[in-house]
Every structure is written in C-alpha cells, then in structure tokens.
C-alpha cells in the first residue's frame, strides 16, 4: 500500500503456557507480513517466552476445554478425545510433560510452526520485543537468559508505542 503511516499493533504477552505462547507470535509475525509495525511487551509469565530455550508446557489439569488426543496411529484414532479426570491429570507425575509432547507432536503433524520458529521470524522481521524489567527483578531473570534482540522497559515504554497503535491486545 502507498499509505505513508503503517498500521501499528501492540501486544501484551502475559502467560507462559504453550497454548498462550502461540497467539502473540502468530499475530506479531503475520502483522509484520501485512506491513504493520509491531511491539510485544512480555510481562509476568509471558517473560519466559523470551528465554533462549522456550520450556512452555500445556496445563491440562483444571482445563476441561483442552482436547486430549493421541498424535500417532490411524486418523480415526488420532481424532478421539480422551476424557481424563482432573484427579489423574493433576496428580500423576509427568502428566504435563507427556501431554505437552503429545500436543507438540500434533502441532507438527498438522504443519504448524514451533513457537521458537515463529519467534525467530518475529525478531528477524523487526518486531519490537520488550521485556518487563520489573517482572525480571521479581522473578530473578537476567537479560543474558533471553534471546538477542530484546529490549527492556516498563509500562511507560509499552504505552508510548501503544498510544499510536491501531490494534492493542492483552494476551
């Protein structure tokens, strides 16, 4: 487009589970592909999405909407949704890790990029990544823990960018 001023999107990423890790990176990478300017402010548990290695897991316990599916076997088998009681999901050691690896495998089977891949595209394509300094201090995170290309700031840094945003979302 020959618009002089590009559209602008400002996101706040505040959650660190795998399901919440996807939306900010999908939206940010796509917005850049649609020629928008993008900033993402990572705060609280969302800050873990800036770690060099993303350890985000799914949290199946007390999440009745989450489909529990097997990523292998015939298609009919893969489409079965297994009703697993909360008492098991919450108490069996390693259940989250298993559910996470199944979910990641399903994503891969369906041709979905990994969170790391999407994050790399975001950084490469110039998404402004702001880490929340206050949360870092509270949780004891260091800038060296994070991928390159992250700048640090607080509410004012985000709001300065968001003040001129056309789209603002809290994820």
């Amino acid at each position: 487009m020959s618009e002089t001023k590009p559209k602008r999107m400002a996101l706040i990423a505040s959650k660190g589970t795998l399901d919440w890790a996807y939306p900010p990176f999908i939206l940010a990478s796509t917005a850049v592909a649609m020629e928008m300017e993008v900033a993402v402010f990572f705060t609280f548990y969302g800050l873990t999405l800036l770690n060099k290695k993303i350890e985000a897991k799914v949290a199946p316990a007390t999440n009745p909407s989450m489909p529990m599916k097997m990523p292998f076997g015939p298609e009919g088998f893969q489409n079965i949704n297994w009703p697993i009681p909360n008492a098991i999901m919450g108490n069996v050691p390693g259940f989250e890790t298993m559910a996470t690896s199944f979910m990641k495998k399903t994503f891969k089977n369906k041709g979905v990029a990994t969170v790391e891949e999407l994050r790399e595209i975001c950084i490469e394509s110039g998404v402004k990544m702001i880490g929340c300094q206050m949360t870092m201090d509270v949780f004891g995170f260091e800038k060296e823990d994070f991928v390159d290309g992250v700048e640090l700031g607080g509410a004012a840094s985000f709001l300065e960018f968001a003040a001129d945003a056309d789209i603002t979302l809290f994820v």
């Binding site: 487009m1 999908i26 796509t30 020629e35 041709g111 979905v112 999407l118």
Partner: protein
C-alpha cells in the same frame, strides 16, 4: 487459471497458519514490482487469509482456485 505465466512458484502444501502467509511475504520480498508468484497451499484457511493479506499489502490476487486438494493462487507484486 492455469494459463497465467508466473515468475516464481511457492509450495506451501502441508503447512498451516500462519506459515503460508509468512512464506508468501518472504518470497514476495525478493521479487520485483509486477512479477507474479504462484502459490500452492493445502490449508483451507489460506483462501480467506491470502485475500486479506493481498488487500492489506496492495499486492494483486489475480486468481484463486482449487485443484483437487490444492488451493492455487496467483499474486502480482505491487
């Protein structure tokens, strides 16, 4: 639809949202104004997404069709 001459071809079969858009954008960045990209996707969501992306970026979606389980797009760079 198959008569359109194109400069580059991009195979996005098996890829899901948002990869077809991201790859189309990246390929388009290496092309010159007026050149045509043929893109093939198996993602049914790509139909609306490519249209929306073309609208926003000003690239022209010359043709959008289906060939078996493939969705085939011809996009001209603005």
């Amino acid at each position: 639809m198959n008569d359109i001459a194109f400069n580059q071809e991009l195979d996005c079969r098996g890829l899901n949202c948002p990869l077809p858009i991201l790859k189309a954008k990246k390929t388009m960045d290496g092309m010159s104004s007026g050149e045509i990209l043929k893109m093939v996707s198996t993602d049914p969501g790509s139909k609306n997404d490519i249209t929306a992306w073309a609208n926003r970026t000003g690239n022209a979606l010359l043709s959008s069709g289906e060939d078996g389980s493939d969705f085939v797009y011809y996009i001209q760079k603005s």
